[in-house]
């Protein structure tokens, strides 16, 4: 029961929908909750979590609507193009988000740190040497060990690169109309992602318990955890997207010609992959 576009309108415009405004309200709840939570107000966490759950419910219904529109053949080829454009620009915005954090790492390491260690700053920080991986000049941060590329990050690199390959195999299978093969390799991709996240979690525990490397470990800890943390979060998002796509494959959605949901999720996965390669080099090796 796959989409046939023959009777699709020129450009399908959905009718009124309750989801957008409900999503807005859920986010309002989420943010009110978050503001209260970070300030240790007792009800903050509940409101925040309720908001997030509502958002997820709304999104589930919203995407459900979109999927059934797609499956009932309302989406013309032109809409497919729209999805392509929008996904590309969305990924571009994500690139810029990561750019802010990579930029912060670059700036703190290559501009601020030499400054803090230069001759003028001896006035304030007489003993600061300016080696990367320091805990800042004030000595208020407990000593810690930095995180090297072996073994977990390297294993993780291998995992993500492999997952890129499995995803491509799955895509080729979909284009060849081999549904079983598609589902299998897609599942493999998701599994690789899950293992990646597992390793990442293990790495964090290792950092906190054995290396004494924490989010509060000066600028090193800040950039390390925020960069890898946001990346891990994006891997999770990507895995959820692929999960939804896998579910749809199992339900018999998609044709060899029309399967943008698959492709969009795949683009996203590759983007997350590339960000990891950047992290692997900049955070772990340099």
């Amino acid at each position: 029961m796959s989409a046939s576009r023959s009777n699709a309108p020129y450009y399908f415009v959905p009718g009124p929908s309750r989801w957008p405004v409900l999503a807005g309200l859920s986010l309002l709840l989420t943010m009110i909750g978050a503001s209260a939570w970070v300030n240790h107000v007792s009800w903050g966490s509940y409101v925040n979590i309720a908001g997030v759950m509502l958002t997820v419910i709304v999104m589930y219904n919203w995407f459900g609507d979109a999927i059934s529109e797609s499956e009932s053949g309302k989406y013309s080829a032109r809409i497919d193009v729209s999805y392509r454009w929008s996904m590309s620009w969305f990924i571009f915005s994500e690139v810029m988000f990561f750019a802010a954090f990579f930029g912060a790492l670059f700036y703190a390491r290559s501009i601020s740190m030499p400054w803090l260690a230069d001759i003028d700053h001896k006035l304030l920080w007489p003993d600061f040497s300016g080696q990367w991986g320091n805990a800042g000049p004030a000595g208020t941060v407990d000593a810690f060990t930095t995180m090297g590329p072996f073994p977990i990050p390297t294993i993780n690199t291998a995992l993500l690169l492999t997952s890129g390959v499995t995803l491509t195999i799955s895509h080729h299978a979909l284009r060849a109309g081999q549904r079983g093969k598609t589902a299998f390799w897609l599942f493999a991709t998701i599994a690789l992602g899950a293992v990646f996240i597992g390793f990442q979690a293990y790495e964090y525990i290792h950092a906190y318990h054995e290396l004494n490397l924490k989010l509060t470990s000066g600028i090193y800890g800040s950039t390390f955890f925020m960069l890898t943390g946001f990346h891990g979060f994006h891997v999770t998002l990507g895995a959820i997207m692929l999960g939804v796509v896998w579910f749809r494959v199992m339900k018999g959605h998609f044709t060899p010609e029309q399967h943008f949901a698959f492709e969009g999720a795949a683009w996203y996965w590759h983007f997350v992959d590339v960000v990891w390669l950047g992290l692997y080099i900049v955070v772990y090796w340099m």
Binding site: L116, D120, L123, L124
Partner: protein, 380 residues
């Protein structure tokens, strides 16, 4: 609310004269320069203004001519042209050249402003909420160090609903208790830094403005060519008293500077408190009241009642009436909006002000006396 504003207008002696070394009444242009850099800036600005005005007059001359001549009501028929490559290239290239011509003299000044090498005198400037600290690091006067706070009394400023009770002077908000003193015609290098948030140090007449960044140092320089008093104000938003931390520099002859250094040094020696000295309750309270007035009233208010929602009351506060160690800790290290005082106040001053708060208003703390030695011990 507006009523108060209108009332304030009717207060006598509001209209003042020009501020010496500060702005003049209804001044239209930059302040009179007293350094070479400020002069450069002054003429750069004139140059820019001249070029911009010329372009402005030409462009809008053409536009208004067209508006008058090519209107429908005078029967003008519309032409149909809509491009001309040569004209378009011309008005891309010509502005480009103009911009380069503007940038050339500016470049020279930028380089000169950045040249802080071989100074005669080096002063470290520390921005704090909400005062300036000065340390003479190198050159004649080395070792001098003092704080500089607003000298204009609150009674001239007033508050919402409270009219000022004292007439304003010419240097309203532009006067400090301890001005910076520097010799004329000497290159002074300033090293700026800050304790809490970013502040910015400026004297418009010198053409100097440099942010003071916590944890970092930056430098700038000036060489004043005329004696006199010069005034500026903190120019980076730094919290509620941002408007109340002015800067005053006293440029004096070499002779006068020598004298000033001598007296200042004597004064400092006399003022230095021995933290081992044991004080009586009354001595500490008296001293503490002064410290309080100079540092704490802005937030906690003279009544000790604070400002609800923003600054906590000291009267009846659990910290002030409870064990003294906690209060010493907060004064030394700060908490949220409360600044850390350890680098700005001496042990004696901290001990005195704590003692004062513990015995003032309705406060009757059990531990009502703090000696400087205890503060010294808590610093460790």
């Amino acid at each position: 609310m507006l009523g108060a504003a209108v009332l304030a207008t009717s207060l006598p002696a509001l209209a003042t004269g020009d501020s010496q070394g500060g702005p003049a009444i209804r001044q239209l242009n930059l302040q009179a320069p007293v350094t070479k850099i400020a002069e450069d800036i002054y003429s750069l600005h004139n140059l820019m203004l001249g070029i911009c005005l010329t372009i402005f007059v030409i462009v809008f001359g053409v536009m208004f001519y067209s508006i008058i001549a090519h209107r429908k009501s005078v029967g003008h028929k519309a032409a149909t042209f809509h491009e001309s490559t040569s004209v378009e290239i011309a008005w891309t290239v010509v502005p480009f050249i103009i911009v380069i011509l503007m940038a050339l003299p500016a470049t020279k000044t930028v380089v000169a402003m950045k040249d802080t090498s071989s100074p005669d005198l080096t002063i470290k400037v520390t921005g704090m909420q909400w005062k300036w600290g000065y340390d003479y690091l190198k050159g004649e006067g080395e070792g001098i160090s003092f704080l500089s706070t607003l000298a204009t009394p609150r009674t001239q400023i007033g508050a919402p609903g409270v009219l000022p009770t004292e007439a304003r002077t010419d240097n309203y908000l532009l006067e400090v208790d301890n001005p910076v003193v520097v010799p004329v015609n000497k290159k002074v290098r300033l090293i700026t830094t800050a304790n809490d948030v970013i502040h910015s140090w400026t004297i418009p007449a010198f053409g100097v403005k440099q942010d003071a960044i916590p944890g970092y140092v930056r430098d700038t320089w000036f060489k004043a060519e005329k004696t006199g008093v010069y005034r500026g104000q903190c120019v980076e938003l730094c919290g509620k008293e941002h408007a109340f931390m002015p800067i005053v520099v006293n440029v004096v002859t070499e002779e006068e500077y020598k004298n000033w250094v001598a007296t200042k040094k004597k004064e400092m020696a006399a003022k230095a408190d021995d933290p081992a000295k044991v004080w009586t309750l009354d001595e500490l309270k008296q001293r503490g009241e002064k410290v309080y007035a100079a540092n704490c009233v802005a937030c906690h208010q003279a009544t000790g009642k604070g400002i609800p929602g923003a600054f906590p009351a000291l009267e009846g506060s659990a910290v002030v009436t409870g064990p003294k160690a906690a209060q010493i800790g907060i004064l030394l290290n700060g908490k949220n909006a409360m600044p850390a005082w350890k680098s700005t106040l001496s042990d004696t001053e901290i001990a005195a002000v704590i003692t004062y708060t513990r015995n003032s208003w309705s406060n009757k703390a059990a531990e009502n006396l703090v000696q400087p030695a205890e503060v010294l011990a808590a610093r460790k």
